[in-house]
Amino acid sequence: MSSEWPDTLAAAPGQYAACGRGEEHGLGVHWEVLLGITGKDFTIIAASKAAMRGATVLKASDDKTRALNSHSLMAFSGEAGDTVQFAEFIQANIQLYSMRNSMELSPSATANFVRGELASALRSRRPYTVNLLLGGYDEIADKPTLYWIDYLASLAPVPYAAHGYAQYYCLSLLDKHHHPDIDFAQGMKILRMCSEELKRRLPIDFKGLMVKIITKDGIREEEYADDQNVAVP
């Protein structure tokens, strides 16, 4: 192994102030919305823009995603402090791998690496309380990918996924309307159905969604209007 690079980039505790532990069982983290939809040649990742601390919205333009490499994007929710710390730790190690080996890790390899890190942390003195969606595009298989990972490090490859309370509202909609070969316009239409349902039924305002798309050309942010009112019956 080359001596120029460290074995792994150690996560630096205290770089981000960690908030009180155990908040995941109270109100707060489950209200964050993470959504993922795959289609014929794309993966959509959507995350709520509200950064919440207790009953207060601190920010309405929060980006809950990190690009791991050119073709995989990780969306995260969970305990404040853990989330960004874990995501940037993973991001740095994935990028380190690309530099050392002059090739990018495939989405499935990335997902299993993330799961391994989360699983070993789970049985350590201080686990990460982080839920993840890993959207990617596998350039070798020429297929979009989506992985669902929860804070216990359960990993599942899925065609569509959600985290938090959004699961209860969106998975049924996606069960009914999703097909593996939908095109991008149909994908965005289903996402609009999900976001309208969340707006209609979630008791809090999650400040709209930030939407990112992963295709064979890479990752891009998609404009996502959030101005129309949703009628509540």
């Binding site: 699983a119 049985r123 359960s154 490859p157 996924a161």
Partner: protein, 166 residues
């Protein structure tokens, strides 16, 4: 406190010169189904290992045994036998006696030396349950026990043996 298992069912059965092993594909949290594509049987050469319980430990334990069995195959230049695999699983689980993996493994395979079918089950800390007929595990183990007790008989042929587990 023992964390709630993610659910799942697994059954292994002996027939005439054959074994069968089956599992469900659901990954769920109580009533919510997260995935319908989460297999719980993993194959290591001649041996098949079924793992039910906490989903994270199903993945961790299956990855661990993939590593251990691959290392065994490289050292010994032969496949691992079901009996040896059973002892490997037992000792590996007992290593975690006071912080166990929350899984209930099941093994099924044919011993290539003797040609005899072999099945067994374990608890989460590696106590082996040898059986001549069938092994069940998971959150549906009570129901599987009932159907297996009712339908199993000696020397089932392979089509009848797998038909039980539809």
């Amino acid at each position: 406190m023992i964390p709630p298992p993610d659910g799942g069912a697994c059954v292994a059965m002996v027939g005439k010169d054959c074994v069968a092993i089956a599992c469900d594909l659901r990954l769920g949290m109580q009533a919510l189904t997260v995935s319908n594509n989460f297999p719980k049987i993993f194959s290591y050469g001649d041996v098949h290992l079924g793992l039910t319980g906490l989903a994270t430990d199903v993945s961790t334990v299956s990855d661990l045994f993939r590593y251990k069995v691959n290392m065994y195959r490289l050292r010994e230049e032969r496949n691992i036998s079901p009996q040896t695999m059973a002892n490997l699983v037992s000792s590996s689980l007992y290593e975690r006696r006071f912080g166990p993996y929350f899984v209930s493994p099941v093994i099924a395979g044919i011993n290539q030396t003797s040609g005899k079918p072999f099945i067994c089950g374990f608890d989460s800390i590696g106590c082996i349950d040898f059986a001549k007929d069938f092994i069940v595990s998971g959150t549906a183990s009570d129901q599987l026990f009932g159907t297996c007790e009712g339908l199993w008989e000696p020397d089932l042929v392979s089509c009848a043996c797998s038909g039980d587990m539809g």
